[in-house]
């Protein structure tokens, strides 16, 4: 598989750091994998939308379509000794870390086969053996938690780094600045990835932040602004950041990206932005289409072959949903498991404590 050299869409912009080169090396295999993986993510999220509408998924459901290149590009640059932690928009991050479609759909529907056995739900996916630490519902909380993972990596001398993903809305949270200061003081291998999709719920970035230049918000910490719709740019940036972090401590990567869906399922996503804006991004910056064009222009596959891949993905997703639906709801006894690792044989109670109680082992 020969090396293909591609220019990123736009140059990187650095803050307190010399940015990496625009020239990225890739391969036929990598580009086709990017295409397939992103198309799978896209299809999975569209399917989740339908399942939600048919009431098989409950509560919140935050979809990632539009932002796929961030996960894909990041994974291409790192290993599974490196850790990732994110917020509630976590389905595709989970998939990127080696999770399966069946586990995803089963969790979304609250079934035993789910990655959290149906107990976590949409916002709480994990895959610890591959370095994925969730799946967090409280805006901003994952940033100090991620710095804690990086603390662990440094403590154990693991020569690995942690990527902590947060939104433009989360970027104003005070705990981020607290964690950044400590990460810088202690040279933690912490990479803060701001997925700037330009809205925190219904609030445009400039209405929530006096300075929306998130890659500069680390002040004394270096930063890089990256086209988050270009998987190869993301890959380049993450590689660069990993090297930096292992040597010099924290760095911020601002990924300029976009979410096509509303914030969660109750948000139509169209009251605070124009339809033109959305379709403009789709037409000009879509991360999958960018790779499709590269594949075609380098003649790595035909249009028909790519369409066939997409058809195949559609089938895989449908099959996964069918399988997930077959998985039963959790056993009632699961109500009381996992409250503790070690329960000391104490009693725990249900709503009617005289009728439902359990001994925690």
């Amino acid at each position: 598989d020969s090396i293909i050299t591609v220019e990123t869409s736009i140059p990187f912009t650095g803050h307190n750091i010399e940015p990496p080169s625009r020239t990225v090396e890739t391969s036929s295999f990598e580009l086709l994998t990017f295409f397939k993986d992103m198309a799978t993510m896209r299809r999975m999220e569209i399917a989740a939308d339908s399942l939600y509408k048919s009431k098989l998924i409950r509560g919140f459901c935050h979809l990632y379509d539009g932002q796929e290149a961030v996960s894909i590009g990041m994974e291409a640059a790192i290993t599974r000794k490196d850790c990732i932690i994110t917020a509630y928009r976590d389905h595709c991050i989970y998939l990127g870390r080696g999770g399966t479609l069946v586990e995803t759909f089963a969790e979304l529907m609250g079934r035993q086969a789910g990655c959290s056995k149906g107990k976590g739900g949409s916002m709480h996916f994990y895959k610890k053996e591959n370095g994925f630490y969730g799946g967090h519902g409280i805006v901003g909380a994952q940033v100090p938690l991620g710095c804690g993972l990086a603390f662990g990596q440094k403590y154990n001398k693991d020569e690995a780094v942690t990527f902590m993903m947060y939104g433009d809305g989360a970027a104003n949270q005070g705990q981020l600045f607290e964690a950044l200061n400590m990460s810088a003081l202690w040279d933690l291998p912490a990479i803060l990835v701001c997925e700037n999709n330009h809205y925190g719920m219904g609030t445009a970035e400039w209405r929530a932040a006096k300075s929306a230049a998130y890659y500069k918000r680390g002040d004394y910490v270096p930063g890089l602004k990256v086209d988050g719709m270009d998987a190869l740019a993301v890959k380049q940036a993450c590689k660069f950041a990993k090297e930096h972090a292992l040597k010099n401590g924290p760095i911020i990567l601002e990924m300029d990206t976009y979410r096509y869906h509303g914030h969660s399922m109750s948000d139509p996503g169209s009251t605070y932005r124009t339809r033109d804006e959305i379709s403009g991004v789709r037409q000009e910056r879509d991360p999958i289409e960018r790779i499709r064009k590269l594949v075609l222009s380098h003649e790595l596959a035909t249009e028909k072959e790519l369409k066939d891949i997409e058809k195949e993905i559609r089938k895989e997703v449908d099959e996964a949903i069918a399988k997930a639906k077959e998985s039963p709801m959790p056993e009632p006894s699961e109500l009381f498991t996992n409250v503790y690792v070690k329960g000391f044989g104490t009693e725990s109670f249900g709503a009617d404590r005289k009728e439902v109680r359990a001994v925690l082992l």
Binding site: I57, G110, G120, V139, Q173, P330
Partner: protein
């Protein structure tokens, strides 16, 4: 005439903002988005961005700013998108708001309302489902209100905004869309309910159920079922968890001699425990059976629908507990 709880809250905010220019509202998505749950719908248009203030997602910061504005004499209404996020700001609620009037010997009063949905919603998992009633209501300096119906929502929110002290106002997302009958009196802009007074939602003579927020509706439904079996249930809508209307609770128990407490929050150190203690302290001799406590399960909220259902009180749990206090042979009662 009927009105949803959402409209009751919205109209109460609207009327108090119109009556007092010192009242303003701040929080995430309260303005241009019209509220995450549309409680503040229309207010931005009517009162402008100075008085309907969209904030970044920075609870500690904006809560501190709200409390500071209250020190200065404004009357802020701070919306938490849900009370789970109030944990990021809880130091300001407790240390900056609740304690200031006392520490300053009355110099710095804090006329502020913290409001938003509290407790379990549907399918939102462990981090978005906690009930904070018992925590906040343990703290002297705070008042804690828990509306159930549209009457409660209007009357208590107006009382909270007019009150000179910090009030934690715990709503329930699943009630927002529910409709309740409202009289002309309730709809009048002067309408206001007293803080610290419970409401007997249904009179009865065999057993008392105390409940607040969404659980009041469950208690009423259970009472209806039980009445068909000949058990007459008195349902107390607590309305205020702090001050707690100990007098009303004890008066009822002295009449019915039996008590079931009901809440969605975690059981340990919960509202039920306090009510049980209060009745034991003040009306021990009147109790014909042990107090029964129905509460949220003692586990983080699971997502799966079947487990979630097990994790919060259901009507059958209430019915079962009432039957136990009423029929079970209680040694003390037997010898009395």
């Amino acid at each position: 005439k009927e009105m949803t709880v959402r409209d009751a809250l919205n109209s109460a905010l609207d009327e108090e903002m119109s009556a007092d220019p010192k009242v303003f509202i701040m929080g995430e998505e309260v303005g241009e988005y019209q509220g995450a749950y549309k409680i503040t719908k229309g207010l931005l248009d009517k009162y402008g961005p100075e008085r309907v203030r969209d904030t970044p997602i920075t609870e500690a910061g904006f809560t501190g700013i709200g409390v500071g504005a209250a020190y200065y004499g404004l009357k802020p209404v701070v919306e938490f998108m849900t009370f789970n996020f109030s944990m990021q700001a809880i130091d300001h609620i407790i240390n900056s708001a609740a304690k200031s009037n006392y520490m300053s010997a009355g110099q710095i009063s804090v006329p502020i309302v913290f409001r938003g949905p509290n407790g379990a919603a549907a399918g939102v998992g462990a981090q978005h489902s906690q009930c904070y009633a018992s925590w906040y209501a343990s703290v002297p300096g705070l008042k804690v209100l828990t509306p159930y119906s549209s009457e409660d929502a209007r009357g208590l929110l107006k009382a909270a905004i007019r009150d000179p002290d910090p009030v934690v106002f715990l709503e329930n997302e699943l009630l927002y869309g529910e409709s309740f009958p409202v009289s002309a009196e309730i709809l009048d802009s002067s309408f206001c309910l007293p803080i610290g007074k419970a409401k007997i939602e249904r009179e009865g003579k065999d057993v008392t159920i105390t409940a607040f927020s969404k659980m009041v509706g469950y208690a009423l439904q259970a009472a209806e079922i039980l009445s068909k079996e000949g058990i007459s249930v008195e349902v107390i809508n607590l309305r205020s968890i702090r001050p707690l209307d100990r007098a009303a609770i004890n008066a009822s128990v002295r009449k019915t001699n039996r008590l079931v407490t009901l809440e969605e929050g975690f059981p340990q150190h919960g509202v039920g425990a306090e009510i049980c203690a209060s009745v034991v302290e003040e009306s021990f001799a009147y109790l014909d059976a042990p107090v029964e406590r129905i509460a949220g399960a003692d586990v983080p909220m699971p997502y799966a629908a079947n487990l979630e259902r097990m994790a919060v009180p259901q009507i059958e749990d209430i019915v079962r507990a009432v039957k136990r206090v009423c029929y079970r042979s209680v040694p003390l009662a037997a010898t009395a």
